[in-house]
Every structure is written in C-alpha cells, then in structure tokens.
Symmetry: C2
Subunit: 178 residues, 2 copies
C-alpha cells in the first residue's frame, strides 16, 4: 500500500485492460497530497480540481473514484452526511472509526487498534484479505442525556456545541478547497 506513482498506477490499470488517463492521474495526485485525515466527496474533489483549472467532469470523477476504490487504491467512507467520502487507502495506522449521536448527529472520530485486530481475525477465518474496516458507534451524547433523553427532549432539539463545530468544519472545508 505504498504511495502509487503514475507508472505503478498505469501498470495496475493496464493489467486489467484499463488505461491511464490524465484524469485518473490527477485524481490520484490530489489524494496523495491531501493532508492526513482529510477525505473528499465526489463533489468536493470536483470543486477542488475545478478551482485549479484542471476540471474533470463529475461523471468521470464518480467513475474514477469507484474504480479506484474497487482496485483497493482508495478507501470509501460512509459518513453521517449521507454521501460518500474517499481517501487514499493506507490501512494502518491512519484509519479511524466514528461515534455519532443519533439525537443530534454530533460525530467524534477515534482510533482503536483492537478493532483492526478483530477484523483481521474475521477475514482470516473466512479466507478474505483485509483492505479496510470501519466501526460506527451510534450513541447519545452527554448533552442529550442531560436534557433527559429518551423522553424529555423537544423534537427539534440539537446540541448547542454541534452548530458551532459544524460552522468551524465548513470553514476548514472551504479553505481546503482553495
């Protein structure tokens, strides 16, 4: 899972009858230069390239990330936001898991090596080869509990902390896209 070069990507693609195109090379390049822990949706990747005057059509983006995920080059993340995110697949130790409040959607990332171990155990048992593993923990956050979950929470309630964090995150996302 070492970093791909254009040449090794080409070899990998060609061996299955696929081709190395400028688009695929650019996409790989973006992910290789993405700060650790970051991940992009198809749309974010599109905007990022568009901003650099290296625009690639959205359909090609979708086709490429799906292909590269299937090849094991990219990792597909199912985050709470309802659309998929991608990042370079560098299994260990850069992967993390998610804990999300089912009441307000507040999400916390965490690392845990023992989960990887259990996944490995499971793949070995069935003769699979591990590529990636992701644990999602659904829970109720302290603020919701303090408000009296499950019964005493108004229907439109949301953790106060969540809003400001979301705004901060969006701010970061915007910077990153420039």
């Amino acid at each position: 899972m070492s970093p791909y070069t254009a040449a090794s990507l080409k070899a990998e693609l060609n061996s299955r009858g696929w081709r190395l195109t400028p688009q695929r090379e650019k996409i790989l390049h973006v992910f290789q230069n993405l700060p650790r822990g970051n991940h992009l949706s198809a749309e974010e990747l599109y905007n990022l390239l568009d901003g650099r005057d290296e625009a690639i059509s959205l359909s090609t983006i979708y086709r490429s990330v799906k292909l590269m995920a299937r090849m094991g080059i990219l990792r597909e993340l199912e985050l709470a936001e309802g659309h998929k995110h991608y990042e370079l697949n560098q299994p260990y130790p850069h992967h993390h898991h998610h804990m999300v409040c089912i009441q307000c959607n507040k999400t916390i990332e965490f690392k845990n090596d023992s989960i990887l171990k259990q996944s490995l155990k499971q793949t070995e048992k069935e003769g699979f080869q591990l590529i990636d593993c992701q644990l999602t923990v659904m829970a109720i956050c302290p603020e919701a509990l303090r408000m009296g979950w499950p019964s005493a929470l108004p229907s439109n309630w949301s953790c106060t902390r969540v809003l400001s964090e979301r705004m901060q995150q969006e701010h970061l996302d915007n910077e990153e896209a420039n």
Copy 2:
C-alpha cells in the same frame, strides 16, 4: 429495550409532544413480529403493509422510521445495497457486523462481542450512552484472490457464488413481502 406496547410507545411519544397514530402503531407492530435477524427498507415496509391492506404512504413510512430511530426504538442499518434498513433496536446480543468484498460485494454477517466492548469503552470515555454499533470490514474474498487480485482480474469479474446467493436472497425477500 424490552418490547414496546402501544401504551409505552404512546407514553414515549407524548413525553416529547408527539402523538400515537394508527400508522406508528402498525409500523412498530411489523417490526415486533419480524423474524429475528430480518430488517426492512422503507420500501419493503411499505410493500409489506400494502399487501396486508393496511397501506401507509411512503412519506409517512420514511418520517416514522426516522423518528423511531432517533428515539432509539429502531436501529438503522447501512447495508451495502445503497439504501437504509431498519429493525427493532434490541442491542445485545442480536446485533451483528458485516464483512464485504470490495471486488464483488459479497457480504458475510458475523458476530463479535469484543467489538461491542470496545464501543462501550469508547462511549464511556466520552460520556455517551451506547445505542448500537456496526463494524464494516472491507476485504477481498477468496475467489477474487484466487483470480489474482489485485492485478489480474478482468474489469467485469464477479464471484460466481455471489450471483446465485443474490437470487436466493431476492427470492426470500419476495416471500417475506407477501
């Protein structure tokens, strides 16, 4: 997390200013009578009720399952098929995890108590209350490996076993909807 009765569902709803309607009661009832290990998508739930001449509109189905998931009554499953499934939230020991081949989408369910323990550890550390946890293991199945993954696999290859299993599953799904 004991089975809800119409009365306890009503209490739970009312305490947050919501109401017990025949639709919500029917939906709860369906999930309570669902064989262990089964789960329904919004559409499947719609069809099931429709077949019983107890039709509920799709939007109401969507609104209800989302509400009940947020209340902690239902559990929302993100399976590989691209749409959400729901089942009664009876945390332990009926939950399971998934291992899926990123090459052919073959999916295997498995149980593992240690994952629940790790999730519990994480929720306690952050002061959350655990509701549910789901591990997804992305891997390459033995057949794909035998075919020479990652390089020597034709672009449209799919495990032979997968197709027949899918057909069997679809067959079961159809029976269940009647």
